[in-house]
Every structure is written in C-alpha cells, then in structure tokens.
Amino acid sequence: MVTSVLKSTWAYRSFILGSIKRDIQARYKSSALGALWTIFGPLAMITVYTVVFSEIMRAKLPGSEDPLAYSIYLCSGVLAWGFFSESLTRATNVFIENGNLIQKLNFPRSSLPMIVIGNALFNFFIVLALFGIYLLITDRWPGAAILSLPILVALQIILIAGLGITLGVLNVFFRDVGQLLAIVLQFWFWLTPIVYPLSIIPEKFQGIVESNPLTPLIQAYQTVFLNGQWPDWQQLAPLTIGSTLLLIIGYGLFKAKSGEMVDEL
C-alpha cells in the first residue's frame, strides 16, 4: 500500500513540485511587488504583536521579566497554528475544488492533498525564516534546540495529512464537513494555549486544554523558541502515534471511497 503511494508520488514528483511552485507564483503573478508579499504578511503580524502586546499593552508572560517574551510566545504559537489551519482547510476542500480534473483525467489523486500541504509548508518556511531573523535581531536565538524544528514540522505534517485526507474524503460526501471545520477551527484555536499560557487558566479547565492533541505540539514550538530548550519528546509520543494511525485510517478511507468519490463530484 505504502509502496504504491510512494511509487505514484515519485512518478508524479515533478507535477507535484511544479503545481506547488505554480500555486505560489500564481498568487503574486500580477502584483508589482510579487513574492515580497509573502514576506510582508508575516512581517506585519510579528510587528503588530510585538508593538501592541510588548510596547502598548505591556503584556508580560507569567514568570518572565522579558518584555518580548509574550510576543515570542504568541508568534511561535500563531505561526504553527497558521500552518495547521491553512493546510487543513485547503486539504478538506481539495477534492471538491478539483472535481472536474478528477473526473476527466487519470492521475494519482493523492497528489492533490500533497500539493496543498506543500504549498502551506512553503509559506510556513518563509514565516519561520522571518521569525528566526527577528529572534536573531532581538538577540533571542534559541540555539541548538532549533534543530528539533524539522521533527516538529514533520510530525505536524503527518497530523495535517491524516486529518486533511480524512476530512477531504468525507467532505465530498457530506458537504457539511467543510462548513463545520471553519467553526471547529475557531473553537480549536481558543482551546489551544496560543494566546494564553496553560498556567493562567483555572485548574479545572486545564484538563480540557491538555487533552487537545494540538497542545503538546504548540507547546513544543513555544519551548523551542521561547526557552531555547528541546521539546519534551515523551509528551509528543501520543500525538505521533495518533497522527500516524489517523494517516493510515485516512488513506484507507481514501482508497476505499475514491471510486465512489468521483461519482459524487
């Protein structure tokens, strides 16, 4: 099963990479500043968070005297969340959006979610790079712990792919899924310690936030960027196993339903 996916992905690798490149180019094709816009968005976000929370509101992270701590905490969470929600939303709609293509051309359909995830990943890399520059300038470079990022990103991709393919297939049959996801993501954002640290919420609610599968992942990013420490790998183990299982289930569902899926598009 896995070999056949890898084989067809390999055969269509240039198509997948080409599509990712094209999607990125298409976004900025007719704008004068072109690819610079990819940088301006995240740059504006980092600036706003730093100025508003550190300078204007003087928000401090509990247990830290660093005026920039909250800004770094916020950025690392928001960036990782942005990658998650953007790619998940696009993966959920990818089969519906490419319905005509799926009906009329015979090509590996599994390349479609790969293209949207690859696309979001590219954006994520850019904002991570900018964030890295910001950390360098403010003299808060996390050091060697930054080497854990590829593992965190890989784990996040597995989670997104598993969830995205499952929801993408379900969305073809039950269009409510796409609508529901937009609402669920709103709640999910606030149930994840991104804007607030876990320690400030009442203890009886901490259990809810801790049971959120995204919590350990976001916390890992925050640990790396804010404290310059290696993430707590043990805490990430359940998520790793869960995401892998989800990916297997999602792929199984995709295989089982891909024939019927074409009929519904």
Partner: protein, 410 residues
C-alpha cells in the same frame, strides 16, 4: 499496441433520498442499504483490436460519456471488468490544468505532466507542440490573452504530442476553426495509420463513416447494436424516428423538444408520410417542389364527424401554413369503428430553406378545442433546401417575376 476488452461492464450511481441517509448507511452498515441504484450502463461487452477505430453512438444520456470515463479509468465500474493494453490518452475535455496567468509554454509543461509525461519528454516535444499549434509568439504570453480557439489549438497539441496506443476522443474536436479541425483530424488519421487504436464519440455521421471500422450503438445504458458504421447509423436514425411516432403521451425528442400526443382516442393517426415529387418518402424537400402528405387515420369508436388538420411550423414553433378538411369542406361524417381514412394533401413547397415540423390533429370540427380525438406535435420533421432557385431570404417563396426597363437620361 492498444487493445481493449470490456466484459459485462456496468455502472450504477447511488442515489440517496437525503445526505442523512448516506450517513446512516455508513454508520450502520449492517442495517441494510438506504440508497437506490441508478444504472447508467449495464452489461456492456465488446473488444477493440489493435489499430481498430470504433465509434460510440447514441442519444444524449445513453451512457457514452460514462463509458469513456470508465475506459480511461477516472470512473470505477460497479460491475464487470476491463482489460487495457498500452498507453491511453483521452481527449475528454481540452485545456485541463491550464492556468490563465501563465504562459502557453509554462502551461504546456503543467498540462503535459498532468497527462503523465516527463518534463524532459515535454521539453523534447516542445518544438513539435509549438509547431502544430501554430500560435507563434503567443506561446510566451499568458494564456488569458489567448482566444478560445488558440487555447484549443495549444491544448490539442499537448494532448496529442505523443502518439498513444489507445486514443479516446469525446467530440472535443468540433471546436476550433475549419482549418484546425482539418489539421487535427489529419493527425488522428496519422495515428490510426501508425497503429493507434481509436475510440470516438460523435454525432457526426460523415466523420464516423469516413474514419471508423465499427460502431457501437448505446441506448439507455445498454448496448443495442454493434457492426458496420453505416448499418449502425441507419439503425440509430430509425430508432430516433421511431421515437417521434411512438404513441406515448410525452416524448423527449433528440432535438430537445417534447412531442406531445393527446386526445380522447376515438380516432387515431396510424401513419404519417411525407412524399416528394417522385412519390418517394423523404424528409428533404426542395423549394417549390410538389409535396404530398399522406395520413392514415383509424376509427376506434363511432363518431359523427371527423376533421384532419395539419400545421407546418418553423423552428421557432411559429405557424407557416395550416389548413384542415373542415375549411376545405371535406368533413367526413358517420364513421364506424374499424374504418380507416386515408388523407392526402398535395401542394407545392413554396417556403424558404429551413427546418420545419408538422403538427396534426384529428377533431370533430374546425377547432380541436371542441372535441380532440388526437393531437400530435412533431408528427413529421423535414428540411427544405434550395436547389436551382435563386438564393432568396425569408420563409415564403413568392417567385417574383421581374421586368426591368432602363430609360436613358435626357
């Protein structure tokens, strides 16, 4: 070598009464199915040998497009199996995967890869693609600046850049100007000559008869005939015309109109025939030609009076000429069951070249509103062609006689 064998292939779509029903079926798979199956193709078996060209014909909704999608593998069959040997290319829709913001060249690369070509292969084929599309410098302009014909040219060139073993074409070729149509048809002929197997869906009788070795006729999802293209096309036409005279209340005609037959049935139309000046049954009449309409009506119940009327209508449904036997003072009276009335209307077809239909009515009096035994729309359909008359405009041929006198100026 492209070869295709199709074994009792069937395709059904699942129809659920509501999205909730599907959810229940998914969650409770043991509670039995909650959908109905709508069979769009059933029991299709045929084989296409290497190098053969086969046409698929049939009315809209006969299942031709579904069959093509099954063959090219995008849609999965519900029943049966298929064996395909060789590399398939399908022209189901041209311009798939084109992005308007990118240049023709960039799009060729993307579309080619979507078709399964390797980038190095595309680079190698690029000069041929450019050359065949004949769009010149525009190849390096964004596709959004192209006319639809130029997009079509480029898309066709990419899709057929590499000769496939099995080529599937769904009427995509009717786009483009006459020159390019000719050129693309030549390329397909060339493929055929080089040994490619072709499967074509078309309504164009001339194209089918000139290029195909065999034709397969589909009707309502079933294969009803397979054989020589000419024989199959004749049968297909007969099938279509049989539809027009079948005694069903409402019939969707091939042209999209609905033929309505209504009435109380005391008398009914048995047959309608349109004869030309040589007394041959036809549906093509020349302007001014002597024409005869023969109608046979059967009396089913005793009726005091019977009037037959007919009305010739143009393609917009506007009456061109209508008359009935009451106005011609030839009303039949005191008819008994079992009798047959043979009507014959003779006239010269002094109307303009176009398509027309004739509606018929059997009634008691002047108007069918009083007592309508049978009313039949589209009882006959015919074309008027202009042969040998001066080229005139309009729906009536008035045969103007012209005299000109040229006076010299003072």
């Amino acid at each position: 070598m492209g070869q295709l064998t199709v074994n009792s292939l069937g395709k059904a779509y699942k129809i659920y009464p509501s999205p909730g029903a599907r959810l229940r079926e998914w969650i409770l798979p043991f509670a039995g199915p909650r959908h109905q199956e709508k069979w769009v193709l059933k029991d299709i078996s045929f084989s296409v040998l290497p190098g053969e060209t086969v046409a698929l014909v049939g009315a809209n909704g006969a299942g031709k497009s579904t069959l093509l999608k099954l063959i090219c593998g995008t849609v999965k069959p519900s029943l049966g199996s298929m064996e395909i040997q060789g590399h398939i290319a399908a022209l189901l829709e041209l311009g798939m995967g084109f992005h308007p913001e990118f240049t023709g060249r960039q799009n060729v690369f993307m579309a080619g890869q979507l078709l399964g070509l390797h980038p190095s292969e595309i680079a190698q084929l690029m000069p041929v693609i450019e050359d065949f599309a004949e769009i010149g410098e525009a190849i390096d302009q964004p596709v959004r600046t192209y006319s639809s014909g130029m997009q079509m040219r480029l898309a066709f060139s990419v899709a057929t850049a590499k000769r496939p073993d099995l080529l599937i074409i769904d009427e995509a070729l009717s786009v483009g100007d006459a020159y390019f149509q000719h050129k693309s048809f030549d390329r397909i002929r060339q493929f055929k000559k080089l040994g490619s197997t072709l499967i074509i869906v078309s309504h164009d009788r001339t194209a089918i008869q000139s290029i195909c070795d065999r034709a397969i006729l589909l009707d309502k999802g079933k294969m009803i005939m397979e054989g020589e293209p000419e024989k199959v096309m004749d049968y297909y036409n007969a099938l279509m015309s049989e539809r027009e005279s079948m005694v069903i209340k409402q019939i969707q005609l091939d042209s999209g109109q609905v033929q309505t037959i209504s009435g109380t049935g005391e008398a009914s139309i048995e047959s309608i025939e349109l004869l030309n000046s040589e007394d041959k049954v036809t549906d093509v009449i020349k302007v001014g030609e002597k024409t005869t309409i023969q109608v046979k009506a059967k009396i089913n119940q005793a009726i005091p009076q019977l009037v037959l009327g007919f009305m010739i209508k143009d393609r917009f449904g506007q009456p061109v000429y209508g008359i009935n036997t009451y106005r011609q003072q030839q009303t039949l009276s005191d008819l008994t069951p079992g009798q047959t009335a043979n009507f014959q209307f003779e006239f010269n077809m002094n109307i303009g070249a176009a398509n027309y239909s004739i509606a018929f009515s059997l009634s008691k009096g002047d108007s069918h509103l009083e007592k309508n035994y049978e009313w039949r729309d589209y009882g006959a359909v015919f074309h008027v062609i202009n042969v040998g008359k001066e080229d005139f405009v309009g729906s009536a041929w008035l045969n103007a006689q012209t005299e000109i006198e040229l006076e010299q100026g003072q």
